[in-house]
């Protein structure tokens, strides 16, 4: 395979432009290679079109449907031919063509800083990769960290040239604060100027004492198509703790003395699996693509698996 052309900002100068940190020239080359791979495999034709037919009925060119006339409707869209045949006033409806708004929501709460490497690193890399795929397909991409301590979101941008500001923004994201997933989503939704339809990619560990349902329902109710990506650290999947320990919750600071025995470990694994199965069940019932990844996996493999697994985009 010929080497992929480097995206804007690649090279040492690009490293400096990125400010170092999580993203470097090698990361950018991987991004471009990932886009090329997706295009060749045509795993997401819909996403590669510049324009997408939205479900919104409006001023498009393609006829979609009729509806009864109501007072105040634009008379230009009355179907006079139908009125001549049936004697009923009806408006012609057209599918409105619009670009896709991709909202990448990365959980940056304190729990995402756990793991080696931290879960947040993989979450940001996945977010950056999906953002770049979107930018490469002329979609509008916005990024929003979720968490108490997070700064304002990055507004929607279009075009591959926007990747550098996105990466710089993501470099500044760090884990901290409590999850409060629903509260963070509410804050995010409040910041949106227009309640456009779009695609919301939620990357989180979904460790929320209040559960994940409220947050995801909020997004769904705001006409956002969802993709859920659950990130777990390997030591969360299979803890290697033994003996007497003092557990400290990274977000709440709560401490707990505990003697880790095999029985305790088994119970923990059982509860963790229950949490994941609950999330997957919720998504499956609502046709929401859901992916569970471990933080020690390479981001490009994870992204490729998401596209090849299908269902990421409709």
């Amino acid at each position: 395979m010929p080497p992929a052309p480097a995206p804007a900002g690649a090279g040492p100068a690009g490293d400096r432009a990125l400010g170092g940190g999580r993203f470097d020239e090698r990361f950018l080359r991987k991004l471009e290679s990932l886009v090329m791979t997706i295009r060749r495999s045509r795993v997401s034709d819909g996403l590669l079109r510049a324009n997408r037919a939205s479900k919104r009925v409006g001023a498009g060119l393609e006829f979609a449907d009729h509806r009864d006339y109501a007072a105040g409707d634009d008379l230009r869209y009355l179907d006079w031919n139908l009125y001549g045949r049936l004697g009923r006033l009806a408006l012609r409806l057209f599918q409105e063509e619009e670009d896709l708004l991709v909202e990448v929501l990365v959980d940056a709460s304190g729990s995402m800083g756990v793991g080696s490497p931290p879960k947040l690193d993989l979450a940001l890399q996945i977010g950056a990769a999906l953002a770049y795929v979107g930018l490469a397909n002329l979609d509008r991409v916005a990024l929003s960290p979720l968490g108490d301590d997070q700064a304002a979101a990055l507004p929607p941008a279009r075009g591959k040239g926007a990747i550098l500001p996105i990466l710089r923004f993501l470099n500044g994201v760090s884990a901290g604060g409590q999850s409060g997933l629903a509260a963070s989503v509410r804050s995010f939704l409040a910041r949106r100027r227009r309640h456009r339809r779009g695609l919301a990619i939620v990357i989180s560990d979904f460790y929320d004492p209040a559960g994940h349902r409220a947050a995801l329902d909020l997004l769904r109710h705001h006409r956002l198509d969802l993709v859920a990506i659950q990130v777990s650290a390997p030591q969360e999947l299979a803890p290697d703790l033994r003996g007497d320990v003092e557990l400290r919750d990274v977000e709440t600071g709560e401490t707990r003395e505990l003697t880790i025995s095999p029985a305790v470990l088994a119970a923990y694994r059982q509860r963790h699996q229950t949490l994941l199965r609950d999330l997957e069940g919720y998504c499956r019932e609502r046709a929401i693509p859901c992916f569970t990844v471990a933080s020690d996996q390479p981001f490009d493999a994870v992204v490729l698996r998401m596209f090849r697994g299908g269902g990421l985009l409709r």
């Binding site: 304190g110 729990s111 995402m112 756990v114 793991g115 879960k119 560990d205 460790y207 004492p209 650290a233 969360e236 703790l241 003996g243 007497d244 320990v245 003092e246 557990l247 400290r248 919750d249 990274v250 977000e251 709440t252 709560e254 707990r256 003395e257 505990l258 003697t259 025995s261 029985a263 305790v264 119970a267 923990y268 509860r271 963790h272 949490l275």
Partner: protein
Amino acid sequence: MSLATLMSGPLPVRAAVVAGAVSAAAITALYLVRLRRRRVVVSFAPLWLPAAGPRTTTSWARRLRNLLSLLLALAMFGLVLLAAIDPRPAAADRAGRSLVVLIDRSASMSARDGDRTASGTTRLDRARARATEIVDGLGGADRALVASFAADAVAESGFEADAGRLRRAVAAVAPSEEPGDLPRALAFASAILRGRPRPTVVLVSDGAFSDEARRTSPPELDIRYAGVGPPGRPGHNVGIISFAARRLPVDPSAVEAALVVQNFGVRPASVAVDISAGDATVERVRLDLAPGERRRHELPNVFAPDAKLQAKLLPPADDELALDDVAYAVVPPLPHRRILRVGSADLYLDGALLSLGRTVAVDRLTLAAAEAQRAHWSDYDLVVFDGVAPAAPPDQGRFLFLDPHGPGNPFAERGAVRDPVIADVRRDHPLARQLDLSDVNIASARRLALAAGDVTVAGSFGVPLLIARERPGLRIAAVSFDPRQSDLPMRPAFPLLIANALAWAGPKSDDAAIEAPPALLTGASARPREDLPEVAIAHVGFHRVGDMVVAANLSDARESDTATPADLALGGRKLAPPDPPAWRGGIRVGHLALWLALALLLLEWASYHRRWTT
């Protein structure tokens, strides 16, 4: 209190109290310090929550678990301290005794009282077991030394409080073939105990000591007697008390042996004794012995092709001591003697002299030549004047005159007698030993006058024919007739007469009853010969000392008497039994405490992992 004192025995109570107080305080302080656990940061504590139990660490249950754990730790430490103190019952914990456990390993301790098989238990085995009980029963402050004795006493250990070392010393006591010397052993113990607190001797023995040893007043010691074997039980033993052999003075080629056997039992005994020389059995003697009978049996002419004689007793089935069933004797070598024969050639006489064997050297001289060497006559064992007499009668030396006549005849001649008949013979005289002179035909004999002190060994109606004269430094035997004028040279009596004359005249001749020279005794030091060093014999059997082979036997009636006394009295004072053991139970408190501590440790381990304690 030195470190050596602390490490060498049970921990003193005072030190244990101090150590216990300090350590209990330290343990309690450590329990008061909150356990610092390893801190682990988790991303979502609720996943662990249901397993975490009550959230508060100051709950009463937690306090109770801590208290239980503390109590377990204190209990374990207390038990370890108790084991270190190694307490004994106060009644038996006599402070400061210095004991010498004196184990009798003399020959009688090899007796097997009950089981008489070769692998059966000997008295020494029981003595070792009894001594082990004694050292196991020592008090906490006691110190003991294990010693053993037979003819001599030796220390098997130093003064110890460690029962293990003392037990090993007891087990190392080996049986001896020597008689026991109790006064010497007690003197040894007394010397060891001098200056030590509360000196005590525990004598572990069968009580088989001589009356002399029993009469001896023991040292001023607290002597206890731990008897082995059933007290007051009669013995069942037949043993050889003495065995010796010698050459007959009149016939050194012949060997006489004497055997003394005694039945120490209370029942009659029929025994056989095999006498062997080298590997060949040459005699078997059967003896029926009454209870307690000591029988002396003489073997007048033992065939001894080998100088080593062994007497092996075939004992009755209930014989208890095998050590005295065998005895050894060495036959002395043939003596070398010199004879000077003076006179003309005499084939009969020379033939008789040749019959004396190669150990007799004969010089032959004429009368003149003999007179020239008169000063050397005393160097000979016997000077024979055959038909001649010296110029002057000899006054020193040993002589045999055959038909003496002439100026130097020591017996005055009073005429002659024709055809004398030997009518009187003194059978008890050494010159007549085993002589058969009856019917000796004699052509004529000189009538010799006897001086005062002269003895007529054989005569013919008042005419002396064989005369013996003994003076200080002088012995003269005289035959008053010419043997060649008789048929005496044709009879066996003639060489016997020459041999008897040689034996009687010889300086070492002894015609008394056979007194068998005793063999060397085990346990005694002896010098077999003047030019040989003194040796101590420990085992019965043959031993080589320099160029000499000697025999050693037990030969001690007191050791062979296997009867056990009901008690033992020394110097008229009956010995008390040893003190009862300090602890008669099978389990010592110290050991029990250690096991309990181990059980508590396991309980604590289990409780910790079961979360009963923290």
